[in-house]
Symmetry: C2
Amino acid sequence: MIHSLSLSDLLADHARSRPQVTAVVDGDVRRTYPELDARVTRLADALAGRGVAAGERVVWLGQNSHAVLELLLACSRLGAILCPANWRQSEDELRFVLSDLTPKVVVWEPSDATTAVSESTWVRAGDEYERLVASGSPRDFPQVDDGEPVLALYTAAFDGRPNAALLSSAALVAHSASLLVVRQMEPGFTFLNNGPLFHVGTMMFCLATFQIGGTNVFTPAFDAEEVCRLIDAERVTQAFLFGPMIDAVTAANAGGKYDLSSLRFVSHSAEWDSMITVDGSPWCRSKMGGYGQTEVGGMLTFLGLADGGSGFAGRPSPLVQVRILAPDGTELPPGEVGEICARGKTLFSGYFARPDLNAAKSAYGWHHTGDLGRREPDGTITFIGPKLRMIKSGAENIYPAEVERVLKSHPAVADAAVIGVPDPTWHQAVKAVVALKPDTTATADELVDHVRTQLASYKKPSHVAFVDAIPKRGFTPDYDALDAAHGGGNYPGT
Amino acid sequence: MIHSLSLSDLLADHARSRPQVTAVVDGDVRRTYPELDARVTRLADALAGRGVAAGERVVWLGQNSHAVLELLLACSRLGAILCPANWRQSEDELRFVLSDLTPKVVVWEPSDATTAVSESTWVRAGDEYERLVASGSPRDFPQVDDGEPVLALYTAAFDGRPNAALLSSAALVAHSASLLVVRQMEPGFTFLNNGPLFHVGTMMFCLATFQIGGTNVFTPAFDAEEVCRLIDAERVTQAFLFGPMIDAVTAANAGGKYDLSSLRFVSHSAEWDSMITVDGSPWCRSKMGGYGQTEVGGMLTFLGLADGGSGFAGRPSPLVQVRILAPDGTELPPGEVGEICARGKTLFSGYFARPDLNAAKSAYGWHHTGDLGRREPDGTITFIGPKLRMIKSGAENIYPAEVERVLKSHPAVADAAVIGVPDPTWHQAVKAVVALKPDTTATADELVDHVRTQLASYKKPSHVAFVDAIPKRGFTPDYDALDAAHGGGNYPGT
């Protein structure tokens, strides 16, 4: 396996090639690559002792931590799979994830949500996790094929339940290379992991920073003042920031208490621009234009490669192919809308334990993204929107089908559909359109509470409208009619 | 094969994503990516009609031409292998190549050297080649696994005959990605192919330019005036230039007849610097420091990744691992000299039809480069020299190149070579053969002391012989002649 290059292999090389470089910073934790490599070896040995063999799953259930990267690398060393799970999930959602993945080990942070049980070994983050690491012994591990899955990220709740997209070392290494090319990331790159690591958007930068031998700084979650302090103290090059977060950081640094000049970021406001180093190049490291999804490892196309073209998703990464296909698998000419399909080095290995769905998603030998797009005459790609609609509220993706499933489980609900309505703060808010069963009653508050007990809070409807019947197109709600009647709009891609 | 990405696949994507971009320029020839794609399809069909099936070989025998890239892409479309052969070879050398590869088709330029015959179909470059392309029909080809070899480059004449290193699409695509990262190559990149395409040094830039969707400009061979004209006319970003060629280009452009400002290149002389755009960044696109060989796809380590480290080969590309191994396969600690070994995405697939050599080169699961190196305490790599022969003294391995490097650093030494002579106690002893600079003196004891201060004591010469000049075979000492003249022998393995 001379051609194989797993995340574990990369770590082994960094430990040799970059002995003095700081790999991770997290509160009081500060470790070089050799220190990280030594801990990953111990952790892998300890996990193996808890039954984590090749192909087995480990779950991280908590906020951001250096332990996420450490567990991912230990899983890579074993040929196992890490799932950093969404800690904002409801207990019901979490139960589903655990029953779906049947992990051998769960490392968790105490919180109200984490009372779920399973057959797994449960290890508390912090002292108990440190004892687990210390219990492992240094030893050699056999080489792992880099085509084996190493990371599982839940996404794509097409039919009301999410699916775990499996990404191999080969795909992650290739995706990192594409980010390194397009963002022109360099040795010395320091990334602040302030977005959630259970999303590919933050994870992909964490891994690209790791690949170039840079420094990953972890903070549990977004806190404007702490972000300022860390950018200053660690000379952070890039963080996961957008609109409202940038405003919050700017406000937290009013008066220039912190030196944010190491941050090379997109222009935003005069005040922000005066604090940071504005990157106005076409390669702007923080300009996140393009099109992507978890299933392609992160980004499939980059605006930075548009080079004057009109499609606002830009052009494909240098490690993939993109085609716009009709439902029968034939290629559509420029100007026609079809499904964005892809092949290439960064693509996922299918969803965990979903053979039928995987077959459907790879029809005709192309990965079907489930998203609609169009190739412009200049060759660039325009993203149109999900084939099924998705609602975007803050940075979160909300799939109507998922909320509808919960609503329809309420005893008084006959049918329900969920749309997104424009929201001045969050881009969109969730609106439920509900038809009650004859001779039953339920208030809007009751239905919202019902959703809140079963899904993450951000998925609960902000608005509820009652109707006699949901308009249909075939078996599915007629979302266009619902939008027209109930004020829907602002969908991503429109 | 959703993860496969061959050179042919990349061309198919460029034809869609970059319909207006000029792919190749060569004299009067100027073609966009869709035009190149259409010709490659016809050429592949025509080659298939001449027996070029998957795994078969095609030879290009001529100076640089757009046809080299076209033939390579057509071979990729078929799963076949292109060898751009060295047109400067003797007829005897060429006969060896043809009998070794048994190509189905040879495309050749008329010259005195090309009178060799074989069972192949011979097609003359130019009109006959154009008729071949025109004879093919547009059709679909089945997807080719990107792990299959597509390029053969002769190198590594270990035993007096060269071997054809086979590179797969996967390796070439990964190597191009590493060049795109380290050289920060961008869309719009225009490369002047003025070095020979039968060497990996030019071919790797041709392919990286292709991968980012840039423009490859071909010129048959280096001609200073023509290089100036092409840089000006095509707004060339980079060319394959070094010391004496840069002086020749500077002289050809005395008076500033041509505008060379598009060229972003390393600083060389005041006059050169005034003509071009000097790239002083650590990413300098034209700073070729590092270590490489054909068998790793081009570059294995890059000086641009040294980031202050002392080893002048820099650090490994982000897509490989490097280890310094002892002859028994164990890893050597920093500071000790051993063989530079590698694993990773850019590595070759072995030599064509050399099963025994391939097994030896991949001993212990690592590619053995045949070159000596040392890892510095800061993690960077120093390239010492070719392994060639090893001297065994007591239990110690001594590599001539390492001792020669130190001897040549003595101010009185013009040239030096080191051999092993039989020794009754130690099996072999180190003997230095030294040529002094005119009008200098140095005693044997002085030279031995000089080595002792810089290397482990067992590596110091026990014997010193002074000669007027070191006999050479190409650029390296002729060790057989030195052994015969100075009593060498008893080498391990003989």
